[in-house]
């Protein structure tokens, strides 16, 4: 089993605001992230798929194909957009790193399942180089790099 990761970047703006809370509580929980005009990040999207290399091509998946899927399903929709105002997933869901990772998973998984090859293993979204979130799907599978080696997988 090989885990293969493709990385891409997109730039978008967002802010955090829970409509059912008072302004004071939004300020208290979200701090400056609640400024209503939003702010932006250069996000990094890492998509990891898992599978065995094809005996003919040696590929887990064709990286050009994966690049095109990421571009078509995610980047073309999110790049240079305001996530709260323009992206349907975040109309009522907070566009945190966690939820962006989950939304990216939902956008990418159908195309990856349809290709009938590797499975989607992990989505990691960096908001800055120091802040990131990861989603491993609803039926989360062990993603412990050492587990197989230790005979636990």
């Amino acid at each position: 089993m090989i885990f293969l990761t493709r990385r891409a970047t997109f730039s978008a703006s967002h802010f955090y605001w829970n409509q059912s809370w008072s302004e004071e509580k939004n300020r208290q929980v979200f701090g400056r992230c609640s400024n209503r005009n939003g702010h932006g990040h250069n996000y990094t999207l890492e998509v990891t798929v898992a599978g065995d290399p094809d005996p003919v091509t040696g590929f887990v998946v064709d990286l050009k194909w994966l690049k095109d899927v990421m571009e078509r399903e995610v980047l073309s929709a999110w790049d240079h957009r305001h996530l709260n105002h323009e992206i349907s997933e975040f109309a009522t869901t907070m566009p945190t790193c966690e939820n962006i990772a989950i939304a990216a998973w939902r956008r990418l998984e159908p195309a990856i399942i349809a290709a009938n090859g590797a499975r989607l293993a992990t989505i990691r979204v960096y908001e800055t180089p120091e802040i990131f979130a990861e989603f491993r799907g609803l039926q989360e599978q062990v993603f412990d790099p050492g587990a197989q080696h230790r005979g636990e997988a």
Binding site: Y16, I102, R124, P129, E130, F135, E140
Partner: protein
Amino acid sequence: MTAYFGRRYMLSASHRLHCDGLTDDQNRAAYGKCNNPHGHGHNYIIEVVIGGPVSPETGMVINLVDLDAVVQTQVLNRFDLANLNLDPLFTAQVPTTENLCREIFRILLNALPADPPDLKLEYVRVEETENNFFQCFKL
């Protein structure tokens, strides 16, 4: 729905790899230049990943302000700009980055906020330089 939140911190510290149970020659053979008598330092990157349900109210696994507070008080205040060999954790064990990684995992395991519930320390990763790093998933 379970997701993982990760945060990277930096601390600068010095250490000397030296085992009292070994002779000088054995120490030199085991640790090479890391055994130089006055020690040396690194800018360590501490990556902390927390797993847990995503709160429908906040969209977060953990508020990074809360995680920052724990890491600042428990880890950075203790080890940043310090000599690791002088910390009581490293009187009986060599302050290799393996051991530092495991000790930080142990410290954070006992210090995670009780709220929200169901938080899990997924792993601690310590990068000693750009070219080597260590990860602890469990004790």
